[in-house]
């Protein structure tokens, strides 16, 4: 069986006992720009974007992190000696940094499972809703597209000492209140971010749900499977690729947490209980003029997120690969 290949020639499917690489490939005319020169042109804008906006800054950040570096006016000659791991040692020995990583750990432990679970359940429910479908979808999506600065006011109204939540809880209200309580500040921030981003992740799941054939649910129904059985045995495995994506995206955006603690808890309060690594990068790199230490912190954060993402992909992705 043959399928048309990219270069127009037949592509042989790999089958047991007939490895394609054993076949002598037909010799093609050598071309300096490859077999599809136009492809380079089409991909160039994105490649340039990646190089300029992602690869170069990342490379430069790594460079900065190994030097005694600060930003200067053009033309100002200063020594920027190589300092090895000094900046990394400074970062690792800073109690504020250690605490920020612990904070972000708490955030991710709450935010990521909640995001995955709630968005899957809500997407599944929304997929079955027949009336007011658009209304519900827009309702969940509105917080996501609304600026944090705007919706933070609502949450402050809810969770402040004299806020609505405490008024409802009465004597059960926590003391100190949510946003000034060292134990509750980060979980409250995690809840806020979960709520705010849920709409986006619901959309991802809704798209994935469209790929599950109805026949599977009909078969399960005929076999006597109730809704729970159908959800667990058909829906969850059916959207596994979306779950991997949601998990990774929630982890990456969560690890880059900045705006929410900046606004909700007065800059990482109380007493650093909701400080995030990115907030410290901002403090050290921009406010305090120590981009070398901030870069080291950033590089460590990137490595940490990559490791977590790798583990998550292994755990959530299962046998998908």
């Amino acid at each position: 069986m043959s399928l048309p290949s990219a270069d127009g020639g037949p592509a042989t499917l790999v089958t047991a006992g007939h490895r394609a690489d054993r076949q002598p490939a037909p010799r093609k005319r050598k071309n300096f720009l490859g077999r599809q020169p136009l492809g380079l042109l089409f991909s160039a804008p994105y490649v340039i974007y990646i190089l300029g906006v992602l690869a170069y800054p990342l490379g430069y950040a790594v460079y900065i992190s190994f030097h005694d570096f600060f930003f200067t006016a053009p033309g100002v000659q200063v020594d920027r000696p190589f300092v090895g791991l000094d900046n990394y040692i400074t970062v690792l020995s800073d109690p504020a940094v250690q605490r920020s990583f612990a904070n972000i750990g708490v955030f991710l432990v709450i935010n990521v499972p909640l995001t995955v679970g709630l968005s899957l359940i809500l997407a599944n429910a929304l997929n079955r809703v027949t009336r007011l479908k658009t209304f519900f979808r827009v309702s969940y999506y509105v917080p996501y597209v609304t600026a944090s600065v705007a919706v933070v006011g609502v949450w402050l109204f809810l969770f402040q000492q004299d806020g609505l939540v405490n008024a409802l809880l009465g004597p059960l209200a926590p003391n100190p209140s949510w946003l000034t309580n060292s134990w509750l500040a980060m979980p409250t921030v995690a809840l806020f971010v979960t709520w705010k981003q849920l709409g986006f992740f619901i959309l991802l799941y809704l798209a994935a749900l469209q790929n599950i054939p109805d026949e599977l649910y009909e078969s399960a129904s005929v076999d006597g499977g109730n809704k729970w059985v159908q959800f667990w045995n058909i829906t969850v495995p059916g959207v596994r690729s979306a779950s991997v994506l949601v998990t990774l995206l929630a982890t990456i955006t969560g690890a880059n947490l900045f705006t929410e603690p900046y606004l909700l808890t007065g800059g990482g309060g109380p007493d650093g209980a909701s400080t995030s690594p990115v907030f410290l990068m901002y403090q050290k790199g921009i406010l305090q003029g120590n981009p070398d230490v901030a870069a080291a912190l950033g590089v460590m954060l990137v490595i940490g997120v990559l490791l977590i993402a790798l583990i998550q992909k292994r755990l959530v992705g299962g046998k998908e690969d």
């Binding site: 093609k28 050598k30 071309n31 300096f32 490859g34 077999r35 380079l40 490649v47 190089l51 300029g52 690869a55 170069y56 490379g59 430069y60 460079y63 600060f70 930003f71 200067t72 006016a73 053009p74 033309g75 100002v76 000659q77 200063v78 504020a96 006011g153 402050l156 402040q160 000492q161 004299d162 100190p176 209140s177 946003l179 000034t180 060292s182 007065g266 800059g267 990482g268 309060g269 109380p270 007493d271 650093g272 400080t275 403090q283 921009i286 406010l287 305090q288 003029g289 120590n290």
Partner: protein
């Protein structure tokens, strides 16, 4: 396969070339061809930035119009400081990019050491009459704006001496004398705070922001510390000063305010004083216009531990910096002198209510203060102000202090003794760095 390898090589080489070029570009370019001397005398058009405060914008536009009318060949192109999280971040980015304006009429003293380190500022002493002009205009107060190298990189411009505002209506409601309130000492301040909250006149006696921003201490601890220590700066002669009896006394007073719920640990969204949620507030003369028609206010000097008539406070000054990207520094210097002349200072005072940093402030504008007696208190206080120390790593110094203060005073997670000792040790190290 060969095509694939070859393409990969091309892409890899391109990536390395792009990154290498970028790194090289950021390694620092060559300096301009002009010598330092010719730049400081060069005349021609210049750019300036001023604050987005409506009163300062009005003053800035009028000042620029007056200059441009008299100097058609050296026109000023003026604009408000571009938007950013803070003016200092915007200016810092402009220095790095090499497109900072000649003058910024809103340069925070705390940012000056960093801008200087970046090579972004021009020493005003490099102008033949620079040092003398500053001394003649500002007097001895100008000394605290000198940098560690002995040079002056900022023109002391205007201050907003912080005093204690109080709401007369809420004081009356609480049974306190609204015209002559007992706020002469920190003990009296604490007693008034207890009375206000206990009476239910206001939710909180005072509501300084508990946020962790490095500058928040300028509006709670620092004015009280200045009043309590005869105007001692946070760092003096390279050593932190707050780990002292005076500093701990102020810290303990604020700790009591938080412990007894007389102050809030939550950030208030809005102006708690204007909205009647707090009965007292620390602010400068800018607040007179802001609270006009909103609050029936009175103001007293920030109290010290003992009653005093000549207590100090925090200046909350904003200065003018000349930036090294400026090509026509001769004109910039002339504009700076014009904008800080007696006439222009008088216009700034009349428009904004902020105090020009002139040693002859009350006598130079005697008519103004006679017609506007509310401002006289601030003018008298302006002579007794303390600035943020002009030291290395100044922002990190303040952040270190704020973190320690929040931990011990606001949230009570550590003793004041331990917290202040640790912060003082770290600050001493930071200040010692170059």
């Amino acid at each position: 396969m060969k095509h694939g390898k070859f393409s990969s090589r091309i892409i890899s080489l391109t990536a390395i070339a792009v990154m290498g070029a970028g790194l090289a570009a950021c390694g620092g370019g060559g300096a301009g061809g002009s010598s330092a001397a010719s730049v400081t005398t060069a005349k021609g058009p210049i750019k300036i930035w001023y604050s987005n405060n409506e009163f300062e914008v009005k003053w800035g536009k009028e000042m620029v119009a007056a200059w441009n009318a008299a100097h058609p060949d050296q026109k000023i192109d003026a604009q408000e400081i571009p938007a950013g999280k803070s003016s200092e971040e915007t200016i810092g980015a402009a220095i790095t990019a090499g497109n900072a304006p000649c003058l910024v009429f809103n340069t925070a003293p705390v940012a000056v050491p960093q801008f200087q380190k970046q090579g972004g500022l021009v020493a005003l002493d490099s102008f033949p009459d620079g040092a003398q002009y500053i001394k003649d205009r500002t007097g001895d107060l100008a000394d605290q704006y000198k940098s560690s190298d002995g040079k002056t990189y900022q023109m002391p411009w205007k201050s907003n001496p912080v005093v204690l505002f109080y709401n007369k209506d809420l004081f009356k409601k609480a049974g306190l004398d609204p015209e002559k309130p007992k706020l002469g000492t920190q003990e009296e301040f604490l007693n008034a705070a207890r009375t206000i909250v206990k009476s239910g006149a206001a939710a909180k006696a005072v509501w300084p922001s508990p946020a962790s921003d490095f500058f928040q201490s300028w509006f709670d601890f620092y004015p009280f510390y200045a009043a309590n220590s005869q105007g001692t700066p946070l760092v003096k002669d390279g050593k932190a000063t707050f780990d002292s009896d005076q500093g701990k006394q102020v810290a303990t007073m604020f700790q009591t305010l938080y412990k007894e719920n007389l102050a809030s640990k939550e950030v208030y969204q809005g102006d708690s004083f204007a909205e009647g949620k707090a009965a007292m507030s620390l602010a400068g003369p800018w607040a007179i216009a802001a609270y006009k028609d909103k609050v029936n206010w009175g103001a007293v000097p920030v109290p010290g531990a003992q009653a005093q008539t000549d207590g100090s406070t925090f200046s909350d000054a904003k200065n003018v910096g000349m930036y090294s990207a400026c090509k026509n520094q001769g004109t910039a210097w002339d504009v700076l002198k014009f904008a800080t002349s007696k006439e222009e200072d008088g216009k700034l005072l009349a428009l904004s209510g902020q105090m020009p940093m002139r040693k002859d402030l009350t006598s130079a504008y005697a008519d103004y203060f006679a017609k506007n007696p509310l401002y006289k208190q601030f003018a008298q206080q302006a002579a007794r102000t303390v600035e943020v120390p002009n030291v290395s790593n100044s922002v990190e110094v303040w952040q270190t202090f704020r973190t320690a203060y929040a931990k011990s005073v606001i949230f009570g997670n550590e003793s004041i003794d331990d917290s202040f000792k640790g912060a003082a040790d770290k600050i001493n190290q930071l200040v010692a760095q170059k």
